[in-house]
């Protein structure tokens, strides 16, 4: 679907609170703009973002057109165990993009 950038620390101590930064390239067209033909440009947004840590959901966001283009979201989670963080963005048409990042917890 699109290019996504994720920043997760490669390693962390058990129990540490880690910051996760995500960015995905997407127009986030609001549906309120008028195109050059005079017709409204149809809405095209990502409306759902989920982060799971070894399968368990740690962060879930519902996005509306008021989120700027190329949605950038940062949040926190507790480093509990080594494993993978999976990030999935779903657009309003149901297309999902999943990206993963590995983390080592000592």
């Amino acid at each position: 679907m699109a290019r996504a950038l994720i920043h997760v620390p490669a390693s962390a101590k058990k129990g540490d609170i880690i910051e996760i930064k995500t960015l995905i390239s997407h127009v986030m067209e609001t549906g309120y703009r008028i195109g050059v033909t005079g017709q409204p440009i149809p809405r095209d947004i990502i409306d759902d973002f989920v982060c799971t840590y070894n399968g368990e959901e740690v962060f879930h966001a519902t996005l509306y057109p008021a989120i700027a283009a190329n949605p950038y979201i940062t949040f926190f989670t507790v480093a509990t165990e080594s494993g993978t963080l999976a990030f999935s963005w779903t657009d309003q048409h149901g297309a999902t993009q999943v990206q993963t990042a590995a983390i080592t917890v000592e």
Partner: protein
């Protein structure tokens, strides 16, 4: 006397007409959300629960040069333990076409009840963040933002 009155009447009539014109112009402006719509949206998400001020910190620049991308951080004062954590954070605005901005679900696994994103603002307006805690209480913070270049007005590239 008679002439005077008629002139006054004409002026009054003209004033009323001008007022009507202004009203008409107001009513044909592009649809934007209103503070009432924001209240409805808030009630739609959190129900009839009372919302208290405090605990939440909504961080937005007070003067925004470009409404297309406004950095926005919400943090909630919470220990984020298994029995005392923030369940959800919602952001609402008054004057964008839609009152909702983002809704976030959290849990004790988050460690810190805070997130950042970039939002669009169509006008100078009030932005509100509401947090739902695990004990069922709601806390809020709001901030007035001045926007000099609004989102949604630029012409798309041909």
């Amino acid at each position: 006397m008679d002439r005077d009155r008629s002139r006054r009447e004409i002026l009054q009539a003209a004033g009323i007409l001008a007022g009507c014109g202004a009203l008409l112009q107001l009513s044909i402006r592009p649809a934007t959300a209103t503070p009432e719509m924001m209240k409805d949206a808030v009630r739609g998400v959190i129900g009839e629960a009372p919302v208290k001020k405090g605990k939440v910190k909504l961080d937005l620049p007070p003067l925004v040069e470009n409404g297309n991308s406004v950095p926005c951080t919400v943090s909630v004062d919470s220990p984020m333990t298994a029995d005392d954590y923030v369940k959800a954070i919602h952001i609402f605005n008054e004057k964008n076409p839609q009152p909702n901005v983002i809704s976030v679900k959290l849990g004790p696994r988050a460690g810190r009840a805070s997130f950042s994103t970039r939002i669009r603002l169509a006008d100078s307006q009030n932005v509100t963040a509401i947090a739902e805690l695990s004990d069922g209480s709601f806390w809020s913070d709001d901030i007035d933002v001045i926007v000099t270049l609004a989102a949604c007005v630029e012409e798309p590239k041909p």
